[in-house]
Amino acid sequence: MSRFFILTLDGLTQGAIYAAVALALVLIWRATKVINFAQGAMAMFTTYLALFAIDHGAPYWLGFVVALLSGLLLGAIVERVIVRPVESAPPLNVVILTLGLLLFFEALAPMLFGGQIRSFPPAFSIVGLHVGNSQVAFSAFDAFTLGSVLAVMILLLVLFQRTNLGLRMRASAFNPEVSRLLGIRVGRMLTLGWALASLVGALAGVLIAPTFLLYPNVMDQVLVFGFTGAVLGGLDSAVGAVIGGLLIGFALSYVGGYLGSDLETVGALVILIAVLMVRPRGLFSLQRLREV
């Protein structure tokens, strides 16, 4: 099997994970115009909760549900308790607050769960699938990863474009004051936005942990790559986030494969800088429509 093919498959599965993180970042950006730098740390924390359940005898899928539900809850609590009081402060305050949250969760996790590197079970086999007589570098778990991220993207699109709840959420994000005058409980919409984002982040956590393992700052690098994907996609588009995340996955896989794995992070930063220089609004941003 050609090297290019292997690297492409690898990029696809890595990219799916970055896409999930990008999707989570975009959800919060759309609702509150804030980048949640604690997104990765929150996902790490919910993955530890899932592992805690599994360690205590819960079957894998129960652990999976624990991760997603605790993600939903954690996002809602963070918005209500931590973000809400500084809502009217300048955006930089909220950004610094999320950086503080990142440090908080990365310090809390080793206190509660121990600091050693843990392995995390995959939902399905991570052994490459067999196609005819040859084995490919694409496992059942990789298919699950890709499939669940695409499913989440489609569910979110349906929620935002086809339901009244989604319409309320979009209106609240675009113009909170007018939305309130229309009887929309904007505060609840923001809480829901954070909860959904944190749910998507929690999904990314359980998808990442089987290959990246689980330790308190495992998500730091993933967050950088996911953020790059989100910026590439334009920060306010769910489809853009997924495509951006996948593109980052491919790019990093090729950089790592052809140029050496220690250049991966540099590759991501080069992409980020290049995007900001050439197309600062990203590939799929709504903003360009508004210039008309």
Partner: protein, 235 residues
Amino acid sequence: MLEIVDLTVAYGPVMALHGVTLTVADSSITAVLGANGAGKTTLVRTISGLVRPRSGSVRLDGRDITRLAPEEIARLGVAHVPQGQAVLAELTVDENLRLGGLWRRDPSGQRRAMAEAYELFPPLASRRHLAAFSLSGGERQMLVIGRALVARSRVLLLDEPSLGLARLVLVQIMARIKTMVHERGLTVLLIEQNAKSALSVADEAMVLHLGKVVVQGRAHQLSSEEGLRHAYLGF
């Protein structure tokens, strides 16, 4: 019935409203007139809960709504159409209209109200699936008023609806609102700088000057008092 009692509002040290008292009867149009900075917009923003008064109260059918959040006041049936064609530019015309009545959870009533709004404003019907930012100023004004009508609110707070609207369209809209006042008991508080057109549709009127009520009375009386017209109304 909307009652405003001794309302005082300040932005920091700057007084915007000084003990304003006003009763808006059901099934009537009350015009609030005055120059720029008289406090007209502050008055409606306080009624709809966007601004907190320093003292005084706002009552809707006897219930004190002074401290309620704007979204709760809207859900009691008070529709505030703010100044400046506040459409949700990124959403389509249809989505903007739908948002007007979402809180009612009454899908069939909502469909009827939307059909009425499209009938009232044909330009909107032909653009229903376009994003609102592609509309002209007049069409945007139609959209925000249509959105308030879809909510089927009991009280309508209109802040300078004449801005950016062709005279003919404004006359049409006001005629329609007048019908709703008579047929459905709609209560309207109409904020206008253009005193002449406001007085022609209003039942009652008051003039604000630097945050204080200077004149209050029947609309036709105000428009016939020459001294007043020269001093405050400019026509």
